[in-house]
């Protein structure tokens, strides 16, 4: 079942893993009773961030867990890589800015799609992005 701890971690080292990451979070989001729109937003953000972990971060891991705040339940997903890190974070968070040939909407767009977005990065020290979406 998707509820045991093991299944909530996903290595991200291939395109297939990005698909698996989406599917894992989709299942957890349903379990967490996110609305259909919120599931869609969260899984879209996961797809963007997992791709970044793979492409920009050179691979890493995704870990998802349920979280509680008072009576509210939510789903928290963390992406971690030990890639090059992001030298200019503000620039990277700007709509349309890309260092490659992407659309530059991955970070800025997924930030909008979730309730909480947190990023820790430094040149040479990898990147960790944590997002949370609350059930209503």
């Amino acid at each position: 079942m998707s509820s045991d701890t093991a299944s909530r971690t996903q290595t991200i080292t291939s395109n297939d893993d990005v698909v698996r990451a989406r599917q894992l979070v989709r299942n957890l989001a349903q379990e967490c009773r996110l609305s259909l729109v919120d599931q869609t937003k969260l899984v879209t953000a996961v797809s963007e961030l997992a791709r970044n972990t793979l492409i920009h971060g050179g691979g890493g891991t995704m870990a998802a867990d349920f979280t509680q705040e008072g009576a509210r339940r939510g789903l928290r997903v963390r992406f971690e890589d030990s890639g090059p890190g992001i030298p200019d974070l503000q620039q990277a968070l700007t709509d349309g800015w890309t260092s490659g040939d992407g659309l530059g909407l991955g970070l800025s767009g997924s930030r909008r799609l979730v309730d909480h977005f947190d990023i820790v990065t430094a040149p040479g020290e990898g990147t960790t992005v944590t997002i949370t979406k609350w059930a209503r």
């Binding site: 909407l105 309730d115 947190d118 990023i119 990065t121 430094a122």
Partner: protein
């Protein structure tokens, strides 16, 4: 003959609720006034409530994108609440981008999103050690 849209203030948030079918002049007036109020008030969030809005054409879309840009420059976030699914589908087909605004189901959710964002930012500022 333009109807003016009242801009309310709820704590640190400015709220414009569009309740009627606005003519272009009223749309521009809202854009100018909201812009001014964001600058003057130092609000950290703007909510544009379009629950009662039946269509968003390129004129209204541009107004929303402009407000979001002004707000962002002043470190405030804009949330559009109450967008109908039919409006979203039409926007996609029209080819219009709202310039990266957040959306929320309703006013309550929109206000909550702004609150969280604020909390997240204050915390995030320290954590973003990039």
């Amino acid at each position: 003959m333009s109807d003016r849209i009242p801009i309310l203030r709820i704590g640190d948030v400015l709220l414009a609720s569009i309740q009627t079918d606005l003519d272009d002049e009223a749309v521009m007036a809202l854009q100018d006034e909201l812009g001014n109020r964001i600058v003057e008030s130092g609000a950290h969030g703007v909510v544009i409530d379009i629950t009662a809005v039946e269509i968003v054409d390129s004129f209204v879309g541009r107004m929303i994108a402009t407000i979001a840009t002004v707000a962002r420059m002043l470190d405030a976030e804009t949330v559009v609440v109450g967008m109908r699914p039919a409006v979203a589908i039409t926007l996609v087909e029209l080819g219009l981008s709202l310039g990266g605004v957040r959306t929320a189901l309703n006013l309550e959710m929109g206000l909550r999103a702004l609150e969280r964002l604020r909390a997240g930012r204050d915390a995030g500022a320290e954590q973003e050690r990039g």
